[in-house]
Symmetry: C2
Subunit: 407 residues, 2 copies
Amino acid sequence: MEIIDGGVTAPKGFQAAGIMAGVKKQDKKDMALVYSEVPAAVAGVFTTNVVKASPVKWDIRLVKEQETAQAVVLNSGIANAVTGKTGDANNEAMAQYIADGLKINKNQVLTASTGVIGMQLPMDVIELGCKKLVSSLSSDRQSGKDAAEAIMTTDTICKEAAVQFSLSGKTVTLGAMTKGSGMIHPNMATMLCTVTTDASISKKMLQKAMNQVVNISFNMISVDRDTSTNDSYMILANGLAKNDTIIEEGPDFDLFCEALKEVSITLSKLMAGDGEGATKLLETKVIHADTEEHAKILAKSVITSNLVKTAVYGSDANWGRIFCAMGYSGVSFDPDKVDLYIESSAGSLKLVENGMATDYSEEKATQILSKEAVTAIADMKDGDAEACAWGCDLTYNYVKINGDYRS
Amino acid sequence: MEIIDGGVTAPKGFQAAGIMAGVKKQDKKDMALVYSEVPAAVAGVFTTNVVKASPVKWDIRLVKEQETAQAVVLNSGIANAVTGKTGDANNEAMAQYIADGLKINKNQVLTASTGVIGMQLPMDVIELGCKKLVSSLSSDRQSGKDAAEAIMTTDTICKEAAVQFSLSGKTVTLGAMTKGSGMIHPNMATMLCTVTTDASISKKMLQKAMNQVVNISFNMISVDRDTSTNDSYMILANGLAKNDTIIEEGPDFDLFCEALKEVSITLSKLMAGDGEGATKLLETKVIHADTEEHAKILAKSVITSNLVKTAVYGSDANWGRIFCAMGYSGVSFDPDKVDLYIESSAGSLKLVENGMATDYSEEKATQILSKEAVTAIADMKDGDAEACAWGCDLTYNYVKINGDYRS
């Protein structure tokens, strides 16, 4: 598998656009469109939040009822969540505008919104934006980037990934874009992530691949434990790579899952490291746990602890907080067996052996924790299962960004 | 029931002391002792964290095996958690020093520690501290305050409460002290809370009263969703008020529970409002829910959301985050039925009606949210149950305090 430069326009037959429509107050791109030149198998995973945004309700129905989809229209600035029947109607109108422009059925158009909850979309702006999007579509590299930029909210970096691999002698490409920086928490799909691929794969196997991958990528990151109302992880597979269609489990399916996993974990780590206000990516590996489920719960509990996150921000090896966070995770374990390590580009250090502090150097620990990506490893000595979770530090800037997000 | 000025020395037959022993680096009080002149019925609720501090393990055994206890020794600065067998032995020695000084059995001495996890107690300092504590015991008002001060860590205010009420013609007094500012989260007892009373009540009914009260007081607050390794809520009832001993449910038991509830909710709100870095107390009431359990879960989800907490800090009526937090709480409800209000000493405002924004004044909303205590009320219109939870805003200072807690 080869990691390539690119985003949603990397696979054959996909076009994209990202424009300034005027949904956001600032002069920033705020509408995006991803289009497959032919109908594409569609699959999706959406937020588990009871309060679901209008576009999420729309997409869940589409993914359930339709074999294919051909476009995804996305806007940033306003989330179109908790907007009642008006919000549902506005969302459907947005799909209709795109359908009219592309001359396809509105049921082929997935939608996604992100931004402030509770505000209605400005439909005059949306209508003009949809027209501009359709006329701006292109399959070039820059259009993919424009689309990725247009879905950013508090993100500080544009998040794309793409890989190429071979299936039944054909080159298959998988590209993706995502946004997400706050309101990011496990038990969700993710924020808005759109994946495109020219792989030929049945809808059923596409959904199966997504479900597998989401549990070890987007569901293993957290910025602030807040599961959004708008999380959407959508994939379009248009088959233009002409590989033998994947219709069952086997080596081809496994390879496809590997590629999807590569792209999804790359984007997950980009999101966690770009968490609102974050200065560091915090990775937690739990090894030798009794079950994978327990390893996941323990790893997630560590990366979501505000006290661990602030200690990481301060480069303070206050490892007791890691034990504390595992302790209240709901998983039973023997603290007196656990070893704990930290590592980064500055080296590796064993802080705890069999539940008691080693005679480690605080200076060295601070050096390790001062790097931009730090890993905590908990060895439970209780079995063969392991899991990895990604989060970020909690900083002054998280508070600043969220203290007046709407102004 | 009368709220009186006082703490653990308010009831008859209780003495206390709080001293500077030298556990903390700074020149601050760091050891406390509470002593009942006669053996007292004992009950306790302790942390649900799998990683339990040595004093918590000691107390759980004592409360289980002993009918009575006569003293509680507490230290701040070091939590004596994740300290292995050495920690257990040190804790037992601390109980022994106090037992020697008071000439009672060590199994009559409850222990409690709070502070940095993973460090061992300095036993020379503890031994001298215990001697000084015993010689400093007094039943006066100031001694209760000294004890309450000696258990403070990042607390900015000393937390005490006391009430007086009448049982079978006798005046009964209940006093309490607590500490807690960070690592405060529901599903625990609380941080270190010691309650004293001269009520005559059986051990069984005392424990029953505690269990009832903890679920609507200390288990309904959160500062940072981190459940500590050391949480302890202990009560000693020495019977010196000479009321007819409470041995079963009935009016006297109900009155006792009311008094315990009054003291516990007062202290809970003090803890939430004094959360690390907090500038505001955030109260959330969920009314007309289908069950009390659901109301509790919804209310807790709101007060624990970092995004709600930062918005409250910024006095920003970003109510979508309240809906979002209720939405991911795990409770099913119809967002389109919910009304949402905010209120404080600056007035009251309906922000949402039937799941959609009202035409409220942002200026008025900001005024309301700018006060030191703000309440959010969610009307679920789904039944008769209600619950209240207390938290605080998330501020720059929370990050500052916890970025370098150990230095």
